[in-house]
């Protein structure tokens, strides 16, 4: 029964991930081919982003079956979902405004804050998780994953910076640090989950 529930929760989770990325792909393709305008593209992207809600629910259900769901994880997931929705909204508004008006000074500063404030919220959410998690092993895992993400940012950023200095690669905007850190953290979490599954179970 438990195995059946686990398989079902896993399938649901990946179904929502697939649907969300497929939606992003279709909307991006429509936008690139000029089949839809900027505003329509933004609205469709915002709607596709709402898929993060069922994805979060499926993720929580999966974590419950694998024994990873603590109250702190549940709070972290909900806070991160809200911050992600805020990021998508802030990013969409910032891009739309930057394409329609000349930005400078205080205005540019304020508009740059629109997608950045939700990123601050994501960083705060991660910090709160490490503080609130009572399960020391889960806290240890999250800390190691964060350090892996940090290692990837520092390594990739330093290497890319020198390549850029030598004129080998194009310039990359500094806001990539957070996604690269999150990717590193995600890879580390996946690797640790795989290692846990490979461990003895009874």
């Amino acid at each position: 029964m438990t195995a059946h529930r686990t398989r079902h929760a896993g399938r649901s989770r990946w179904f929502w991930v697939g649907l969300m990325f497929a939606s992003f792909g279709v909307i991006a393709a429509l936008r690139i081919t000029d089949a839809i305008g900027e505003t329509t593209g933004f609205i469709l992207m915002a709607c596709a982003m709402l898929l993060i809600v069922p994805l979060t629910r499926a993720g929580l259900a999966h974590q419950r079956t694998t024994g990873h769901l603590s109250p702190a994880v549940a709070r972290y997931t909900r806070r991160f979902m809200i911050a992600s929705l805020g990021y998508m909204l802030g990013l969409g508004i910032a891009i739309t405004l930057s394409e329609r008006m000349e930005l400078s000074g205080v205005g540019a500063f304020a508009i740059a804050l629109l997608p950045v404030l939700p990123i601050f919220a994501m960083i705060w959410t991660m910090a709160r998780y490490l503080i609130e998690e009572d399960d020391e092993f889960l806290r240890h895992r999250a800390t190691m994953a964060s350090l892996a993400g940090l290692g990837l940012v520092l390594a990739a950023g330093s290497f890319w910076g020198f390549l850029e200095t030598f004129g080998v690669v194009p310039h990359v905007d500094a806001w990539w640090t957070f996604p690269v850190w999150a990717i590193g953290m995600g890879i580390a979490q996946c690797w640790m989950s795989w290692r846990d599954r490979a461990g003895t179970e009874s």
Partner: protein, 63 residues
């Protein structure tokens, strides 16, 4: 560190989930400790020892 957690658990016919609930930790924590991938903190080691009513050194030993 080596430990006898799996044997002690089996003697009581407890699943990993049973032990996890008694210790108020995740099942993954129990699994990681049993398989030697994670060494518990001193407070958790004391909780484990108290649960099995044994001294810590009867459960955990250096490699």
């Amino acid at each position: 560190m080596k430990n006898r957690l799996k044997v002690l658990r089996a003697e009581r016919n407890w699943s990993q989930q049973d032990l996890a609930q008694r210790l108020e930790v995740s099942r993954q924590s129990v699994n990681a400790i049993e398989t030697g991938r994670y060494d518990p903190s001193l407070p958790l080691a004391f909780r484990i020892a108290a649960l099995f009513d044994m001294p810590i050194e009867a459960i955990f030993a250096p490699d």
